[in-house]
């Protein structure tokens, strides 16, 4: 069974993002970039499926700038077998990425796509669902557990207030939520090995996909700042203030 795992290059989750002075976006120059944390979970799940003997090959894909090779290398170091970079500078919306992935699926014929439920930059939470729709495949989103058997995936999903379990027919798209697993750190020998694994580079035009954005960003602003409040001297004062001043308890 072949797995496709899309990974996105995003501003590292520990970086405080700054809105550009001209309000056109957030500052990404000279900022630490990493693999989207939910995609790391997806890569981990794919690697575990391979370790269990369910999957035979894992292809890590990134749609983004040349430097997104770094995130593909990270996936390769975690255990993916080869990489594909769909190279494009500039904005790629979920609809564009879903179409690029669809075109790659036509070439690679994976049985399962595992990806993060959401990227922590645009917070769209859309690409997986959109890819499933374009393929006419079922989807198992916000997965906290995945089991593969008899041409189906049984996916436990994180829903409001609990969990639900669905059974979907393969091929399918599964999107990873936090509880699915805890991603491993790549070992040094595996990082070295990953350097020798192949990464193919292609362009959206090679796949015949128009990636023109549908949304125009008119303005990006900082949200209203919170004012630091007051210090209290004791637990008694704190509880008194919460009761009588803030009136929240």
């Amino acid at each position: 069974m072949k797995l496709l795992v899309p990974v996105k290059r995003v501003v590292d989750y520990n970086v405080k993002v700054r809105v550009k002075a001209d309000n056109t976006g957030v500052e990404t120059a000279n900022v630490k970039m990493s693999m989207n944390p939910f995609d790391e979970i997806a890569v981990e799940e794919a690697v575990r499926l391979k370790e269990k003997g369910v999957a035979t090959e894992i292809i890590a894909v990134s749609c983004g700038p040349t430097a997104a090779q770094e995130q593909i290398r990270t996936a390769l170091a975690m255990g993916a077998d080869r990489g594909i970079l769909v190279e494009h500078d500039g904005v790629l919306e979920p609809i564009a990425v879903a179409k690029l992935l669809k075109a790659l699926i036509a070439k690679e014929s994976p049985d399962l796509v595992v990806m993060g439920k959401q990227a922590i930059d645009d917070d769209m939470n859309a690409t997986g669902q959109m890819l499933a729709a374009l393929m006419g495949w079922p989807q198992g989103t916000f997965a906290s557990k995945v089991e593969i058997a008899d041409g189906h995936a049984t996916v436990t999903r994180e829903v409001d207030g609990g969990l639900e379990t669905v059974k979907i027919k393969l091929p399918a798209v599964v999107t990873a939520d936090l509880r699915l697993n805890e991603p491993r750190y790549a070992s040094l020998p595996n990082i070295m090995k990953a350097r020798k694994k192949p990464i193919e580079t292609i362009k959206p035009a090679d796949l015949g996909v128009d990636v023109t954005p549908r949304l125009t960003v008119l303005r990006v602003e900082e949200p209203a700042k919170r004012q630091a409040g007051a210090r209290v001297a004791s637990v008694q004062e704190l509880v008194e203030k919460l009761r009588n001043e803030a009136k929240v308890i």
Partner: protein, 311 residues
């Protein structure tokens, strides 16, 4: 043209986030509310009573009982020609199905909308709310999910809309529902709780982390954790509040032993009242806290429990 709103309901009432979504929808035009899923008919009177709803559409079909994305998206696409805007609350159910609908309509969805500027232009948080983007859609139809916390819900009663039955679309038959497990915890769900008490790495151990629960129980609160506490193994991953965890905006958020890393602040800074308790008076969490208390956690926690018990 009209707005189609996919409602969340429990078989008798529509959810409060649905009423907030209705507030957003009403800025755009006449609203039709779509009810599907188990017990949808039971919720029809409540949906019809929502003020400003022109029509309630009721789709009762076995294939839609559990709101699986595949048959539900097919239904929404079938209804789409009559609407300019299709929207749902940004709940687990809404986020599951709306992007699927958007792709089938060849539209880029607009997720988690926090402001409606005009029929094509919307505000939405990006980078976990650390920035707000105003975006203008060039798509003919807009497919959106709405961040409920950003819109005051409309009243639950006052309207009297007609209810119309609609037929389900053909079920692609690729998915089936096996079961649900509603959280058995006596505590409220993290993202829906009125009060959240969270612990950080300063709790020191998984054992000590249980002290947080003692405080939470006094307040009927949900329990959260910082990523540092989760990474250290003190708390399970589903308790994580932050950019890589859950985004919460309760009325009261109490951060105990949490320094206030950016990634944590991103997940809780929209809370109405923030309390920080930390031994380090320089901790960044104090910069966003309405009330700050500096001191030894292990002394403060029992005191806090005792003081809350006096209520």
């Amino acid at each position: 043209m009209a707005v189609l709103l996919l409602a969340d309901h429990d078989g008798s009432a529509v959810s409060q986030p649905t009423r907030s979504t209705l507030a957003a929808a009403q800025k755009l035009g006449e609203v039709h509310v779509l009810l599907v899923g188990e017990g949808a008919a039971g919720a029809a009177p409540a949906a019809a009573a929502l003020p400003g709803v022109a029509k309630v559409l009721l789709a009762e079909d076995a294939s839609l009982a559990h709101r699986l994305a595949e048959p539900l998206a097919a239904l929404l696409v079938q209804l789409a020609p009559a609407y300019d805007h299709l929207m749902a609350p940004a709940s687990a159910a809404g986020k599951n199905v709306m992007p699927r609908v958007a792709a089938l309509l060849d539209v880029q969805p607009i997720s988690d909308v926090s402001g409606v500027v005009d029929a094509d232009t919307f505000v939405r948080p990006i980078y976990a709310g650390n920035a707000l983007a105003t975006v203008k859609s060039s798509d003919a139809k807009k497919v959106m999910t709405i961040r409920a916390a950003s819109f005051d819900p409309v009243a639950a009663t006052g309207g009297s809309a007609p209810v119309e039955n609609v037929a389900a679309a053909a079920d692609p038959g690729q998915s089936s529902f096996l079961g649900a497990e509603v959280q058995k915890s006596e505590r409220p769900e993290l993202t829906a709780a009125r009060v959240v008490v969270s612990g950080g790495r300063a709790m020191g151990s998984a054992e000590n982390f249980h002290l947080i629960e003692g405080v939470a129980d006094k307040l009927g609160a949900a329990v959260g954790a910082s990523r540092a506490a989760v990474d250290a193994g003190y708390a399970p991953n589903d308790m994580q509040v932050g950019q890589t965890g859950k985004i919460v905006a309760p009325e009261l958020y109490i951060a105990i032993g949490i320094s206030g890393a950016i990634q944590h602040l991103a997940g809780m800074k929209d809370s109405k009242v923030i309390v920080a308790i930390n031994k380090d008076e320089e901790a960044p969490i104090f910069q966003v806290a309405d009330y700050g208390l500096v001191g030894d956690l292990f002394k403060i926690i029992p005191e806090l429990q005792a003081e809350l018990a006096k209520g």
